[in-house]
């Protein structure tokens, strides 16, 4: 990949994505394989006036060694220094840049799925979710192509081709990516305004293997590409992003749903996931592969089996248009409509979430794709009227 492309993505992540402010502490989370982009991001962040760029490089091989050979009690343990690190970022109202792009999506596939599912740091996840919900941190997630990821997508380690696809999805191919992102963010904002005006009571998905109704809360609000911190710093949490999303009423999900794309979960590829909900809760899980990893995750806490997000994406999506399965949620969730079990986002709820019935709190949050040309999506209003939202992947509301 050219330095120029790395710099375009890094600049976009720093200036539009995280929107790093002068004097801010910047956290970067990446894998060791992402070093080329991390280095460029660090320079861009310092050039934007960062006080310090704290890079945490994770290594899935080290994690694999832990899952394979570590003692039982370590799997759910959060080292206090890592928790302290996360708390520091909240306390300093930091910027955060996460880098996606799994170099070895199948690395953990041969391990005991239950141990893989339990190998988490729940206190860290809680703290991270709290900071997002309290709007403490201006953050973004971008992706760094690498050989393993390219092999997963294309069947061959064509990193250069993957860079071209990522550049297309993230609008780095535009003459002025910053201006292109401004337009794109505006368009998604118009969609969220239209949805919010409808005051929907539920969303219904119907298609092959899917007949699902997701209830919404009276306080549910739709959101697009842009978020604001509590202090009013605008940021774009995902680059790319094509979705508009909201918080469901965790008590009112009913029916069955079939995933339309694979999901990558802790290094495991979950294929052909089918889930059934009764009174909001997942009561049945089937999958062609990886069901045990999903089940492991669903038992991490009391509320893991309830929905925390519902999101709509149409066929104009650049990710959808690429025709690829990226095996990466950052991209694939932007190809199609999706739902997530686990934690809900406070930012898509009007008013206080503390004690709000139906607002789901959990230490997990996992998206999976349920939309596509064969899946119809309707909005159901409070008075029972049905509003068409998506037909054959085409957005039905004015935008």
């Amino acid at each position: 990949v050219s330095d120029a492309l790395l710099e375009r993505y890094a600049d976009l992540a720093v200036r539009v994505g995280a929107n790093v402010q002068p004097g801010q502490l910047v956290e970067v989370s990446a894998r060791v394989e992402h070093a080329p982009l991390v280095r460029t991001v660090a320079r861009a962040a310092y050039n934007a006036g960062a006080s310090y760029v704290d890079v945490a490089y994770a290594d899935q091989h080290v994690r694999r060694a832990m899952i394979e050979r570590g003692p039982d009690d370590v799997l759910g343990w959060t080292p206090p220094w890592l928790l302290e690190r996360m708390r520091d970022f909240g306390a300093h109202k930091s910027a955060a840049i996460g880098i996606s792009g799994d170099p070895e999506p199948d690395l953990l596939a041969d391990l005991d799925g239950a141990r893989v599912g339990r190998a988490r740091m729940p206190e860290l996840a809680d703290e991270s979710m709290r900071q997002v919900n309290d709007g403490l941190v201006n953050w973004t997630v971008i992706a760094c192509p690498n050989e393993g990821w390219a092999r997963k997508v294309f069947g061959e380690p064509d990193v250069e081709r993957l860079w071209q696809e990522v550049a297309f999805c993230a609008r780095l191919d535009e003459d002025d990516p910053v201006a292109a992102w401004r337009d794109h963010v505006e368009r998604l904002d118009r969609r969220t305004r239209a949805l919010n005006e409808l005051r929907l009571d539920a969303i219904r998905f119907s298609g092959p293997g899917t007949d699902l109704t997701v209830g919404l809360l009276p306080a549910s609000r739709w959101k697009g590409a842009r978020s604001f911190t509590a202090d009013g710093v605008a940021h774009v949490p995902n680059m790319p992003t094509e979705e508009v999303f909201t918080t469901p009423d965790a008590r009112r999900t009913e029916g069955a749903v079939r995933a339309t794309r694979p999901t990558v979960l802790n290094g495991n590829v979950v294929l052909g996931l089918e889930v059934r909900f009764v009174e909001g809760r997942i009561v049945e899980v089937h999958a062609e592969s990886g069901a045990d990893v999903v089940e492991g995750q669903l038992t991490t806490d009391e509320r893991a089996g309830y929905l925390g997000e519902v999101a709509l994406v149409d066929g104009t999506s650049r990710i959808g248009r690429s025709g690829l399965i990226f095996y990466d949620t950052l991209f694939d969730e932007n190809a199609a409509c999706h739902i997530a079990y686990g934690a809900a986002y406070a930012e898509t709820v009007e008013g206080e979430t503390a004690g709000l019935e139906g607002f789901n709190e959990s230490t997990v949050h996992n998206d999976f794709m349920i939309g596509g040309p064969q899946v119809q999506v309707d909005g159901i209003r409070r008075d029972g009227r049905v509003v068409q939202l998506l037909r054959e992947d085409v957005w039905q509301l004015p935008s």
Partner: protein
Amino acid sequence: VSRAPDITRVDRYADLIVRVGANVQPGQNVFVTSSVEHASLTRAVARSAYEAGAHYVDVNYTDPYVRKAMIELAPDETLTATPGWMLERVAGIRDGGAVIGILGEPEPELMADLDQERVGSTRMAEYGRRYLAAVNAGEFNWTLAANPTAGQAEAIFGEPDLERLWEAVARSVRLDADDPVAAWREHTTRLKARTEQLDELSLDAVQFRGPGTDLTIGLLGESRWRGGANRTTDGIEFVANLPTEEVFTLPDRRRTEGTVRSTQALALGGTVVRGLELRFESGRVIEVHADAGEDAVKAQLAADDSAAFLGEVALVDGTSRVGQTGLFFYDTLFDENATCHIAYGTGILFASEGFDGLGPDELRERGANVSAVHTDFMIGGPQVEVDGLRGDGTAVPLLRDDVWQLDE
């Protein structure tokens, strides 16, 4: 992109680091500090550590390019700041942890084009203070080992001959022995015997004489020679450096006199220092000259009030496996084991007896140096004679032509 080296050799090296170096005990948290370029060895170390019964292996990867961006672009105060969570990590280390440092400079001259004063002053000061205090108190078992990289091979050989570097490293750390663990036991026993001989002499000073060098380093009544294996206060034996060929002690910070010329280059955090010459008076460096890297040394010496005083003197003879390779590794971990060396900056307190419980000011008062830096540089070689001076003024030859003069 270099090919991954032979997996068996990496795994054997990792086992040596975990079992002989750090000597990881069942149930310990193992704190690994490494660099992104060293992922393959780091992964092998993590596997080996869990195999040895580690509870949790915490890998903190650094990145020299991110560091370079910081030195170049960050505000001044960032360069010496310690993130709060790093202090929490030190607390974790002190709470029954073991430490493994994976070193190796893939690009020894990466920082050469930066402002050397900024390069020299960059370090997490508070982290360094707390970490060194815990090391000096013998609170935990630790080791430092190096990962060979193509970049380092390029710097050494002028071509990225990683295989040749691996052979030199394997020989230096005795991985070429049939039973490396047994070879290390024998080796550390021999170094231990040297420390006993030296302690019996109760030396008052050590003297180096050679081209450009006429240096006398006073020792303390409390100075003790160390070498080979160390022991934590809990009795865990460990080898702090792989390789190690030195015996060393804590000098009297007040009594270094004369001049010294380095006999090898020195890799100093991305800058190579060549032709270093120092003059000492009443313990302190009062003159610095170098053909290259002078500013980086000066910046380090100015890091705090005590940086310009000695904290270590170490003896190495010609049987050193590192010396025998004839290579300059661009890595102090190796290069300091090629020949005799001294270090300016903080004192190696565990090479002393009777200083327990003293604060930094009391230690300095009694002749033991305390500083945030510690930099070794090489001053020995076949042309440099080393004598021990006893309290009554008699001289005991220690090294002639790189040959150890005491009976073995």
